[in-house]
Amino acid sequence: MSLGLLLVQGLNGLQFGVLLFLVAAGLTLVFGVMDFINLAHGVQYMLGAYFGASLAAWTGSFWLGLALALPAALVCGLVLEWLVFRHLYERDHLSQVLATFGVILFLNQAVRAIWGSAPLQMPVPALLEGGVTLMPGLQYPVYRIAILAAGLAVAGLLWLLVERTRIGALVRAGATHAPMVAALGVDIRGLFMLVFGFGAMLAGFAGVMAAPILSVDPGMGDTVLILAFVVIVIGGIGSVRGAFIAALLVGVIETLGRSLLPDLLRLVMAASPARQAGAALGSMLVYIAMALILAVRPRGLFPVRG
């Protein structure tokens, strides 16, 4: 294993982690602040990708597609909140899980009815085409570096927003002392709606960014959702900082585990079983890591509530 390959795999892991963070950030805010389990969050990611792909095709420009897809994702999130989720806040978690799972089924099927079941394509913008040679024979796509940069920028902005602004202070206060914040004259429902819409938009943004490298198809949100839940559990529910660290951790563990384990196992066993055991173990590694972290810190890395 050369140093160049290790570097590339590390970058791959970080880039995947950043994408996960964009999805997990909204999920952790909604779950932490509103105590609401939203399984349909992955659907927001899928909708973002679909809006991005079809709007980019319609306008002929990736950037216009991105710019239009964000408000579209926001509106979708708000409409869903108003139509469905708002009525579930007072219910127990089981009702929330059942209802939001229903939303997944409904929207996956709706997407199929509107766009068809064949995967869609979204081209990489001309500005970000091509690649840089990090190791011989491999072009590291500029677009992936752009995803990394955009994700880090969003993470920074989110930190500023949550930690340094009045709205952020309200959100943090609402997470721990909702009745008190309401008693002080803050429209807590409006605040929740804002958080929800914002989370939906972040997931939509992740969807648009992922669309040019992944296939845009119905159900694409479901795989991401599972990992996003792992991320917010590791990071500590409700903590944006925790989600950020955990997302990068999960991304790197996933990628490095998948690529290194079969080679490492080959040192101690025959090639053919090592490949299969490595592949199986690699896909389990994230969950093993989650179990270990929870064993040491049951509330995640950065627990919000005392």
């Binding site: 791959n12 995967p119 869609l120 690649g131 490298i213 296939s215 795989t223 490095l256």
Partner: protein
Amino acid sequence: MTGIGRRGVLGAAGAVLAMPAVRAGAQGTGASQGVKIGLVAVQTGPQAALGTQLRDGFLQGLKHLDGKLGGLPAEVLVIDDELRPEVAVTKVRAAIERDRVDFVVGVVFSNILAAIIRPVTESGTFLISTNAGPSTLAGRGCNPFFFTTSYNNDQVHSVMGQAAQDSSYKRVFVLTPNYQAGRDAAAGFKSRFKGEVVDEVYVPLTQLDFSAELAKIAAAKPDAVFTFMPGGLGVNLVRQYRQAGLASIPFLSTFTVDEATLPAQGEAALGFYSAASWAPNMDNPANTKFVKDFETGYGYVPATYAAQAYDGAMLVDSAIRKVGGRLGDKDAVRAAIRAAQFQSVRGPFEFGANHYPVQDFWLCQVAKRADGKFQTETVRKVLSRDTDPYAAECRMR
């Protein structure tokens, strides 16, 4: 009592679900002297595009036959198997017992075929698969009521192995999903490829991002890559492979680049290879007519799923014609299907002793047509009149 009641309810539910069935050619519904086809094609879930191809291919065949099969007015019940074996069994049972279909045709996936093979064949109904061709039904498990117009899956992978061998590649990198069909693909490829397999990498079926594997390929510097990544997996892999600048390494694949996935892969798949027994550009009158009318009627380029289903319609038509519409005589019908007296879109077509086709296999390559659409095109014939490797184990007379 409750058992019967529940089965009745299930049957009714199955029937309701099968209602959006397309009733093609139902003009002149006196239909006591008609023929009923149960067309099993997945219409929901991520793989629905393949089922749609299959359905449209069969219906195109019916259109060319003026809505008749062997001279009898035909009615087609489209059965959505939802890619769930238990759903497929319920719906297919209902089609046989209640709707009294004469033939069950279609089936994209092997696991669905495995679920319905017994209920269908044990009722004495002919099952004609137009896509799924598992080796379990080709050898010892061959069945007098089962035919397939596609191929044995293993054959296609071995065709790519032979093609790699013919191109004298020395070092090949193998990348497949970590499940039975993925391991079969790797084994099928290696059965005819005699060079060195530099590395075999298995990825989870849910994999989205192949960056880690692509970095490994770049580090290994193989002469070619062999892969089997059906559906969305293939869309991701192909585009990321191109973006990583690896396209100078020949991309040999099976069920990864075809007309069902090309609309999403586009330019990224240009020049990539696949193995098949049919391609849209095949130059024979039956195929030219099929491709032209299919594209006019349905607005997209047909893939093998459609072509084999079209052949399926033609096959059923020829069999009914040969027995003069007397569908009750099962032995005569079987002999008539086996004779396969129809013009296949892939040119010569005949059945082997195990009811799997004996046919030519081609190396195909993705090309861009003058109208901007993408399709696979034949490069060279790799295997001639190839019999599948399990045929010898079949004990059918």
